[in-house]
């Protein structure tokens, strides 16, 4: 019942975890988790390339395993994504679907938005204009 305890404790809207991975070339990904009523918002900043996609996937999987009913990913500060990053979104989306939870994305911009559109993943996941709009659907 560790998951229940987790969800009942701590102030809502508080920053819980922060993961940053920087590789040799200075490319980085930074994932900031904030818990809200009924869900967690993961703000991903930096570049989600083949090296960094795993960091994101592991972080998401940890939240899914903790029983986060709703996982919202804020992509406002993600500047780059490749197919391995997209793969992680599909993996997590499927996991959440199997668990009966939801997986929502918000604030796609630039290349990230373009890549989601080209691959039509923008019609696979619920996409919102803002974190608030995504939270309103939780």
């Amino acid at each position: 019942m560790e998951a229940d305890f987790f969800w009942d404790s701590g102030p809502k809207g508080a920053l819980l975890t922060l993961a940053t991975v920087v590789d040799d070339s200075g490319s980085y990904v930074n994932i900031q988790a904030t818990q809200y009523d009924g869900g967690v918002v993961l703000k991903v900043a930096g570049r989600m390339d083949a090296v960094h996609a795993t960091t994101f996937e592991e972080e998401c999987k940890a939240w899914v395993a903790k029983g986060a009913g709703s996982v919202i990913v804020d992509l406002s500060e993600l500047t780059y994504i490749s197919s391995l990053g997209l793969r992680s979104f599909v993996v997590i989306g499927k996991l959440q679907q199997e668990k009966g939870g939801s997986f929502r994305l918000c604030c796609l911009t630039g290349l990230v938005k373009q890549v989601f559109e080209i691959t039509r993943l923008d019609s696979v996941f619920p996409i919102h204009e803002s974190v608030e709009a995504a939270l309103a659907r939780v």
């Binding site: 590789d23 040799d24 070339s25 200075g26 490319s27 390339d49 083949a50 090296v51 500047t79 780059y80 490749s82 197919s83 391995l84 997209l86 793969r87 599909v90 993996v91 989306g93 499927k94 679907q97 630039g110 290349l111 890549v115 080209i118 691959t119 039509r120 696979v124 996941f125």
Partner: protein
């Protein structure tokens, strides 16, 4: 105008991915591609590089990737990404099922699809033990 050629040989290892992308970005800047296309160049080179580092060489075999950037004319970048691994033409991969719902979507398979969408004149050649993928980048795909 004289054609400028830049060549870089790197270990076919994810640890070299950052350098491969940086090299491709230098090529994009040197070719005079508009800034919005720079990340497309990096993305295409990443997809091809990752395919090679994952599949081209046998486990434990030290393989390499050669990236060649040329500027045939101002505003056009021509790139070749080559390896000496197992013969494989990634362009024969089946198209992903894009209209499928989440439960029916394959987990992977989007890399080469993205490469096709973002490049012009994409071709594969097997040549004297090398797998060579060549593509061109212009201001906009198809321009």
């Amino acid at each position: 105008m004289p054609q400028e050629t830049r060549v870089r040989r790197l270990a076919a290892d994810l640890a070299s991915l950052g350098e491969a992308m940086e090299f491709a970005l230098e090529g994009a800047r040197a070719a005079g591609l508009p800034e919005r296309r720079w990340e497309h160049v990096a993305l295409v080179v990443e997809e091809l590089f990752v395919n090679i580092s994952s599949y081209a060489y046998a486990e434990g075999q030290r393989g390499e990737v050669e990236i060649r950037c040329e500027t045939p004319e101002r505003g056009v970048l021509s790139v070749e990404v080559a390896d000496r691994g197992t013969e494989y033409n990634p362009l024969t991969r089946l198209e992903p099922n894009l209209p499928a719902r989440l439960e029916d979507r394959a987990v992977g398979g989007l890399g080469i699809f993205l490469v096709r969408q973002l490049t012009d004149a994409l071709e594969y050649q097997r040549d004297d033990g090398w797998n060579r993928i060549r593509f061109r980048m212009k201001a906009m795909p198809g321009a």
